[in-house]
């Protein structure tokens, strides 16, 4: 029997990739014993697979040296990463202080924050939805007013960067007002998001109150390591 008709290339690829059941594998193995051409086809497919793995076994180094500035992915900071994401999970698990959650839960979440009164909070915004921008600024302003010595940072990345872009933000005046009233507040823009936008040909000018950090994720990790309380809006 002509095995080419019996076993399609897709079938043979699935065999090479270990995606077939036991019975189908047995059929092919049995056929190989009497069909040298089939064996050759399988050999070529397996070779192609091995070549791909070989070709990317060693890739050029990432441009980020392990010890440059701050690399949260270095082994030494594994513990802080655990903390970062632990906090993320913790807050997100409780939080969902967004449109999806009931007002009661949001109130409880906010109440918990205000009751514990951490002295440094980092508010992370990655959405350009106006209600989330509002929530970030509302929280920052309310917290600064409530806790006299608190330091507050609002960090924006991805679409959230719109909050700090001069041309897109609906809150330029409000941001300027908060900043002039409280010197303990910072507005931080993600440098990676800016670079990506500029790479796409966009002109990215920020409001004068904004500072730029290399990447949002690194900034978050650094702040959490320093003991800041992280809040994702």
């Amino acid at each position: 029997m002509n095995q080419e008709l019996k076993f399609s290339d897709e079938h043979l690829n699935a065999f090479v990739d270990n995606q077939l059941g036991t019975q189908e594998c047995d059929e092919i193995l049995t056929a190989i014993a009497t069909d040298a051409e089939l064996g050759q086809r399988l050999c070529e497919l397996r070779s192609a697979k091995e070549l791909v793995r070989h070709a990317y076994g060693r890739v050029p180094n990432s441009r980020r040296p392990a010890n440059r500035h701050f690399s949260i992915w270095s082994g030494a900071l594994a513990a802080s990463l655990t903390l970062v994401v632990g906090v993320l999970i913790g807050w997100l698990g409780h939080q969902s202080a967004t449109a999806q959650e009931s007002p009661g839960a949001t109130a409880a979440w906010t109440a918990r924050l205000f009751a514990s009164e951490p002295t440094r909070i980092l508010i992370h915004l990655d959405s350009s939805r106006s209600e989330q921008m509002d929530a970030a600024l509302d929280l920052a302003e309310a917290y600064l007013a409530k806790v006299g010595n608190a330091r507050v940072e609002v960090i924006a990345n991805n679409r959230g960067l719109d909050l700090l872009r001069a041309r897109t933000t609906p809150y330029a005046i409000r941001i300027a007002g908060i900043k002039s009233h409280y010197d303990r507040v910072g507005f931080i823009a993600c440098g990676q998001t800016i670079a990506r936008l500029r790479g796409g040909g966009e002109d990215v000018a920020l409001v004068p109150e904004a500072a730029v950090t290399r990447t949002a994720i690194e900034h978050v990790a650094e702040r959490v390591q320093q003991g800041w309380t992280y809040l994702k809006i």
Binding site: D9, E10, N13, A14, D17, Q19, E44, L45, A48, K49, L51, V52, R53, H54, A55, Y56, V59, P60, N61, S62, R63, R64, W73, A78, L81, T82, L83, V84, V85, G86, V87, L88, I89, G90, L92, G93, S96, H124, D126, N157, N158, Q192, A195, R196, G199, G200, T215, A216, I217, V220, K232
Partner: protein
């Protein structure tokens, strides 16, 4: 901070920490651009962190993370090619320059990378996810948000093209001549 005590969460975090190199390698295999691959891996992790509450099954963590990488890659391409939709993007022939042949002296590696770079994007993604990451076809379907049949057909075409391209290059190489 009792949420740190969950064993599942600790394992998830360890996976997150360890996954950067894997994301980078696959992003490099898709783009053949170290700086871009670095950005894509970083962006995928950033998005992953901010959306980790959306991960319902920790067993699917890696495919979830790679699906975010895929979305970052598509977003990047869309920013470059605003004139095409997602489906057409996967069929675009590569306009990459290909790896710099002179940068490395590993001839086989460069030849295979050139062959991969020449594949249409959709095929390049499938073959690298299967061969480099060892994802099952079902997982690749999840990562790329395509039917499993499409995964199989793209893989089949990719390996067929790779085989042809590699054979052509081997045939085109100057042969040794015997010297009397």
């Amino acid at each position: 901070m009792n949420w740190l005590q969950s064993r599942e969460q600790r394992e998830l975090m360890e996976q997150m920490r360890a996954s950067r190199g894997r994301l980078y390698r696959v992003a490099f295999a898709w783009s053949h651009d170290a700086a871009l691959a670095d950005d894509l891996a970083q962006e995928a992790l950033t998005r992953g962190l901010s959306r980790i509450d959306q991960l319902r099954e920790s067993a699917k963590f890696m495919s979830w993370l790679f699906s975010i990488l895929n979305r970052c890659w598509i977003d990047h391409l869309r920013a470059q090619r605003r004139d095409v939709d997602d489906e057409s993007l996967t069929e675009l022939p590569s306009d990459l320059p290909g790896p710099d042949i002179h940068a490395e002296r590993q001839e086989t590696v460069n030849r295979v990378r050139s062959a991969i770079a020449a594949l249409p994007l959709g095929q390049r993604q499938v073959v690298t996810l299967v061969d480099l990451e060892g994802f099952s076809y079902a997982e690749v379907a999840e990562v790329l948000e395509i039917p499993i049949g499409t995964v199989m057909s793209r893989l089949c075409r990719a390996r067929g093209s790779l085989r042809e391209l590699l054979m052509e290059q081997v045939a085109a190489q100057p042969r040794l001549r015997s010297v009397k």
